[in-house]
Structures are given as structure tokens and as C-alpha cells.
Subunit: 308 residues, 2 copies
């Protein structure tokens, strides 16, 4: 009963929760890790494939835990917080991995007891796959982790922020701090809008597929296949992201639609100069992304030609 | 002077022309290959890095050639055809690699002499890079090559179609035949629309970048980086594609805009079910693309986490 190890509770064993479990097992094997997922089938699978102790209830998972990381879809975080609140020990650190920070802070902060430290965070990492089997230890390696701390200058809170930052550094991430509203605007552009547009274009093509008898899939290597990868991401998580980051997404979507309408007009009027100027401006961004270390510098993402 | 080898003339030494040169050197070393590019600097570079004889004029390149493949931007093909027409020998085969077939056939067919066989073709292969240095022999390996033959049932023409098909098979492609209009509709969906949207979204982000002080690039790994790869493609080529496949692109863009507007409304009204349904439908397409052998079955395209 005198276990002095840090106890980490991971709530939600999808791609992110599962990857944290693998990563901590590799980088901080001295930590005691507990896992929980609300879905019994997912929980059973987590018990088979993930390191750590899978618990049968939220209460058993968080009771006595030093750090609790909520990795459930953003729309569920308020309810998860309320359900676990009675069992959180004084001084416990609660963090999350939500892709939206404003709405998650609004939902979680009020339901957590005053005696815990809430440190909102967001790893800029992921794949198009989901569930416990999708997790892997190196997911966060060389990726950004954004912390959006509450406005609480007391040393105990600042120490909690540092504990969370350090945990992510040990998973291989570089930690940055950001204002909640700025996070939600920047991520709307870098992540939410590209996903929404990929989902939309692929769904349009799916409708059209009845007309083209499979030819959209057959000839998808011309560019469309890249959109299908993004559109393969978890529908539940993304539904929540768009509902919860509504304001920033709608604002940017307005800009995107305007710019697309301008290109449409340029095509209709045969204005090749306008097209060329836009395309040239867009092209420059690729070099910047590679120079920033955010993508590999290999043609076609290094894909080898797949056989058929 | 009694050279009985087949002479292949490649006009345009960008990504596609250069890759054909490399591919033919590897698969059909018995062919005599001649290369030409209208830009002197590109031509000089082609002479340094490509197998085959780089000629100083279009006339020298096509005179006596058995097969001529025009690999220039689609908007230039009519002019190239007219310029080389006087020098084409009777029975020569003229083919092209244009991403648009309707407009290219309309531009090329009338300017070519009646004594040559024009076989329009389009390899569904490419990367985001351009120029002679971008070419490599395996670009067409395991990829589709679409031939859109003219309506000419005479055996000499049919033999020319088969010669072109065989040349591409030797480069590793699988050859399919298609109607011109259908090609332009299917490719608008699988290639032209994804490129237009990627160009547009990346250009929007580039505008916004002044506001976000580099943060869009910094956090681009959330999805945006994939759009920048597509948007890195050659602006000249793509300008021509949109101008020349205007009808199909505008029609599909109308559908895409409608569907995006519907998603926008669903976000505004908080209609999570509509979002979830669309995302789930889109997700299914990924599996189909992988099963069709059009992309690799590895998370994140098999990208390893880039260091920083």
C-alpha cells in the first residue's frame, strides 16, 4: 500500500490514449498506468493489446491517480469530467488531448473540483486510424504538443503545468504554450478545415461513384487518394471538433469559399493569369512546411509505386 | 543511314517527358531516343541528366521519328503540333500525355498531317515535382495509362494504337481505353478538383499566414501539410488543365460547393448527425482506394515521424 510510483490514468483508449500508454511504457516504465474506456468491447481489446492495467470503472481508474489524461472525443469531456470529479484526489492533475481547446476548457473546468489542477493540452499528431490497435509509442515523437494553461499563476498550478509538459517531452514531443482562442484559430486552419474539405470532397465523389461505376476509385492516384486518407479519420471525433470549434471553422470556411469562388470565376472567364498567380503562391508553402520539419522531403510522401 | 531501330521523339522534358526517357532507356534500350524542350535552359539541363539525344530544334527532333510523344503543358500542344507537322514522316505515330483529352484532341488533331496516326493518351502518374531532374524510370510502374483513341477503325490506325499501348506497358503501366468526354469527367473528379481545392486552401492559408505569424506552417502536420504537397505541383500545367477542362471542372466544382455549403449549414445549426453521416460515408472510400491498389496500406502514407 506504500506504492510511491506516479499513477497515470488514461481515459479513452483510442488512437491517442493507446499511443500514450505505449509511449509511457517505453519512456517512463516506472509509472503505474491505468486505462479505461466507456465502451466494453474497446475496453476488452485495450486489455489485450495495451500495456497498463485496464479498469472496469471510471471510479477505479481515477481514484488515487496523480495524473489523469482524458483522451475521449471532445464532445464527451464535460460528462467524463463530471463523472470522475468525486473520485479525484486533492492535488491531482487533470489534462486532456482535445483538438479543440475553448469548448473543452469551458466544459471541463467548471465540473472539476477546486482541489485539482486542470492543464488543457493538445498533441499535434495522429493518423487516419482509430481504436486501441491503432496506437504506437512513437506517434508523438518530433511532434508539437500545445498546452493552453488556465490563468492561474500560483506555484502549485505552474508545477502541474510543468509536470504535464515534462510527460509529453518524454513521449518525444516539443511543448509550446498558447492562448486558447489562438489555438482554436490556428488549428482550424491547419487541421479542421483540411479535414472538413477532404470529408466533403470525398463524400461528393462517393455520390458521383454511382455515375462513374467505380472509376473514381480506380483512377484515384491522380490526387484524390490523398483526400481519402484524411477523410478516413474517426467520424465521431471530427463531428465533435466541428460542433465545438464552430466559430473559427465557420469564419475560415467563409474565406476558403470566397477564394474558391474567385478561382471558379477565373476558370469560367478563362483568366489564366489569376490561376497561375494563385497556384504559384500556394506552391511556396510546401517548401516552408518541409523546412519547418513538418513533412518529409520525399516525392509523393516517399510512397513506392503500389503494385496491382 | 540504315538504322532500323525505332526512333522515339519526346517533346517537353519536364517530369513526364524525363520519366519516359529514363523508363525507355531501362525497358527498351534498343530504341533511339531524341529529346527537345522549347526552353533553352531546360534543354541544357536535359542534356546533362537525361538519357537520349537532346536536339536543338523541333525539326531535328521529329524528322524521321517513328513515334513522337508530346509532353508539354496541355495549352501548348496545338502550337507544338502545328510547328512539327511539316517534318513528320508518313506513318509516324503522334501521341501525347495531356491531363485533359477533349481540348488536346481538338487542338492537335486538325493541325497534324493526314499521313500520321494521332493516338491521344494520358498516364495517371506524377509527383509534385517538375523539370528534367524530377523524372525517374519507375514513375509509371503499376499505374494506369488511359488511351482515348480517335474513331478510326482502319487497321493501320489500330496498329498505331497498339504500338502506343505496348510502349506504355513496357514502362510498367496498365493500359485502359476510354471515351474522351468520360476521361475528362472522371479525371476532373479524381485529379483536377482535388488539385484546385488544395491550391485554393493553401493560398487562403498563405494569406492568413500574415495574421498567424508562421503558425500555420509550424502546426501543419494536423492535415494541412498533405494539401501543400498537392499544391506544390507545376502551376503552368495546372493553369492549362483548368482552362482546358473548364466544363467538367465547373460542373463538379458546383457539386463540391453545394456539398460544402450543406456541411457548413450543419455546423452552424449544430446538426451532428448530418456531419457524422457524411464523414462515415467518406471514410468508406479509403478502404476501396487501398483495395483497388491505388495507395499504400500504411498509416500516414508510411511517413516516419520527421525530426526537427
Amino acid at each position: 500500500m506504500s506504492d510511491t510510483r506516479t499513477t497515470l490514468a488514461i481515459i479513452g483508449t483510442g488512437l491517442i490514449g493507446a499511443s500514450i500508454a505505449h509511449g509511457v511504457a517505453a519512456s517512463s516504465p516506472e509509472m503505474a498506468v491505468r486505462l479505461f474506456d466507456a465502451a466494453p468491447a474497446v475496453r476488452a481489446r485495450a486489455a489485450e493489446v495495451l500495456p497498463g492495467a485496464v479498469c472496469d470503472s471510471l471510479e477505479a481508474t481515477v481514484t488515487g491517480a496523480d495524473i489523469v489524461i482524458v483522451c475521449t472525443p471532445p464532445g464527451t469531456m464535460g460528462a467524463v469530467g463530471a463523472a470522475m470529479a468525486p473520485f479525484l484526489k486533492p492535488g491531482a492533475i487533470v489534462s486532456d488531448t482535445g483538438s479543440v481547446k475553448g469548448a473543452v476548457v469551458e466544459a471541463l473546468a467548471p465540473v472539476l473540483p477546486a482541489h485539482v489542477h486542470f492543464v488543457p493540452a493538445h498533441p499535434i499528431a495522429g493518423t487516419e486510424q482509430s481504436g486501441p490497435d491503432a496506437g504506437f509509442a512513437s506517434l508523438f515523437q518530433g511532434r508539437w504538443l500545445i498546452v493552453t494553461p488556465l490563468d492561474r499563476p500560483d506555484p502549485a498550478y505552474q508545477a502541474a503545468v510543468e509536470t504535464v509538459a515534462q510527460l509529453w517531452r518524454e513521449l518525444g514531443s516539443s511543448v509550446e504554450f498558447m492562448d486558447v482562442a489562438r489555438h482554436d484559430l490556428v488549428l482550424a486552419m491547419t487541421s479542421h478545415i483540411p479535414h472538413l474539405i477532404a470529408f466533403s470532397v470525398v463524400a461528393t465523389a462517393e455520390d458521383l461513384e454511382t455515375v462513374t461505376e467505380g472509376e473514381v476509385v480506380k483512377y484515384s492516384a491522380g490526387g484524390f487518394r490523398d483526400f481519402t486518407r484524411i477523410a478516413a479519420s474517426d467520424p465521431t471525433m471530427w463531428r465533435d471538433v466541428f460542433l465545438l470549434n464552430r466559430e473559427a471553422v465557420l469564419e475560415l470556411l467563409g474565406r476558403v469559399s470566397e477564394d474558391l469562388t474567385a478561382l471558379r470565376r477565373a476558370i469560367r472567364w478563362g483568366d489564366g493569369d489569376a490561376l497561375f498567380e494563385t497556384f504559384t503562391r500556394a506552391r511556396r508553402m510546401r517548401r516552408e512546411v518541409i523546412e519547418a520539419g513538418q513533412d518529409i522531403d520525399q516525392v509523393n510522401f516517399g510512397r513506392t509505386p503500389p503494385g496491382r
